[in-house]
């Protein structure tokens, strides 16, 4: 349980460790897109964590990163094809951000930091925790953006579910919120809010470093253009 909880708040992948920023900003225009992206990440992470954990003793250390990337890319391809077949509208909305899950640091980071060192069951729990944190962050971002920008909350897919309309907000749309600048503003303010809450509870306001998140030094330097997440970046 602890394994799952830490991914949601203390080591929230988006607002605290700053992983997977590109998809979070890009797909949070509608609540349903956020959920779709979260589920895609969950499936890929469960699969890659399980497989990498099962073959952790077989992979030589020097070639482990290419091996991880191929495993991850295979699962991403499966999710991509499945989504195009069964949920074409969602696949359209998420666009190239589905294939881009391959270079999402949440996945590679967890493979390197956790799955390659632990047995399958804890690895699966770790995958659930991290992707729940990611999905909740996306949900939060998308809800704020869609409510303010369009006055609605889309929870509808293939005619199942419903779209919630909020009367007052629908008449006073701030369209900027669903455009790119709105994504940056919302992300900045939410990160600030997370800092504020953490400062209240622990006394430090610095964004966690990669090392705090138990990710090795080498990975930190190659992942995501590196340098992200160092103290006060």
């Amino acid at each position: 349980m602890n394994q799952i909880r830490k991914g949601i708040f203390k080591e929230n992948p988006v607002f605290v460790i700053m992983l997977g920023l590109c998809p979070s900003l890009a797909v949070s225009t509608q609540v349903i897109n956020g959920i779709g992206m979260g589920v895609a990440i969950l499936v890929v992470l469960l699969g890659s964590n399980l497989v990498i954990s099962l073959m952790r003793s077989m992979v030589p250390d020097t070639i482990r990163i290419p091996v991880f990337i191929v495993v991850i890319a295979s699962f991403v391809t499966i999710v991509d094809l499945a989504m195009q077949a069964w949920l074409p509208s969602l696949a359209d909305a998420l666009g190239i951000f589905i294939p881009l899950i391959v270079v999402n640091c949440i996945i590679l980071g967890r493979a390197e930091a956790f799955a390659s060192k632990n047995s399958p069951f804890p690895s699966l729990l770790d995958a659930i925790g991290m992707s729940t944190g990611f999905m909740l962050s996306l949900l939060l971002l998308a809800t704020i953006r869609e409510l303010l920008g369009n006055g609605t909350m889309t929870l509808e897919i293939l005619g199942i579910g419903t779209t919630i309309h909020v009367p007052f907000l629908e008449e006073h749309k701030a369209v900027i919120m669903i455009l790119p600048p709105g994504a940056f503003f919302t992300m900045g303010l939410l990160m600030g809010l997370f800092n504020l809450i953490r400062k209240k509870s622990t006394g430090t306001a610095n964004t966690l470093t990669w090392r705090d998140a138990h990710i090795s030094h080498r990975r930190r330097d190659i992942c995501c253009g590196g340098l992200v997440g160092r103290k006060n970046t």
Binding site: M18, L21, C22, P23, L25, A26, P66, I69, V70, A73, S74, V76, T77, D80, L81, G95, I96, P99, L100, V102, V103, N104, C105, L108, I176, L179, P180, P181, G182, A183, F184, F185, M187, G188, L189, M191, G192, L193, N195, L196, K199, A205, N206, T207, D221, I222, C223, C224, G225, G226, L227, V228, G229, N232, T233
Partner: protein, 195 residues
């Protein structure tokens, strides 16, 4: 293909569909490497370089290797491997042939393999069905757009260091809010070209 179309494609990739500010590709280095102008310039040049040649390489792999054998569904796996190999290769070549260039770009090259802008450009090229010339030009334009955004951001952040920012917003949060303002300004370019 006309010269006009090429210029339009470059302009649109730099200003209207800017990779960072409109398409959200390459956000991590945009936030992570934008604290100083020098490093922003180095990173921007390295990304432009890799984006251009990887656009050519992935286009060739897709058209001459995947399409003839009906293996289009393997494109994500193929692209990421091509990009990773290419980055290593470029690093080796630069080290041997041009020590000066290696000194400027060298430390940024290993960071680029997992930069989503590079894989993103390869996917967009396939999705839009660009030909070889268009793909190359698009890669170059996207890289230049990324560099422009990175340098603008670095210039602003160097000034921000001296400002009195609320403690909780220091670092990444204020960088995102600044990026939002730059993105807002870039939306003004939207009417420049009719697509």
């Amino acid at each position: 293909m006309s010269v006009e179309a090429v210029i339009l494609l470059v302009m649109s990739a730099i200003f209207i569909n800017n990779f960072v500010l409109a398409k959200f590709l390459g956000i991590c280095p945009f936030i992570g490497v934008s604290r100083q102008l020098d490093s922003a310039l180095g990173m921007g040049m390295a990304v432009t370089f890799v984006l251009t040649i990887s656009s050519v390489a992935t286009w060739c792999v897709y058209q001459y290797l995947l399409v003839p054998y009906g293996l289009e569904f393997l494109k994500t796996i193929a692209f990421i491997l091509v990009i990773a190999a290419l980055v290593q290769f470029v690093e080796l070549v630069l080290k041997k042939t041009s020590p000066v260039l290696y000194k400027t770009l060298g430390i940024y090259l290993p960071l680029i393999t997992t930069n989503c802008a590079v894989l993103g450009a390869a996917s967009i090229n396939v999705q839009k069905g660009y030909n070889l010339l268009m793909s190359t030009v698009f890669g170059l334009g996207a890289g230049l757009g990324f560099t422009l955004a990175l340098i603008l951001m670095a210039g602003i952040r160097e000034r921000l260091e001296e400002c009195n920012i609320p403690r909780v917003l220091r670092g990444a949060p204020i960088a995102f809010i600044t990026a939002g303002l730059i993105s807002l300004a870039f939306m003004g370019f939207a009417g420049m070209i009719k697509e």
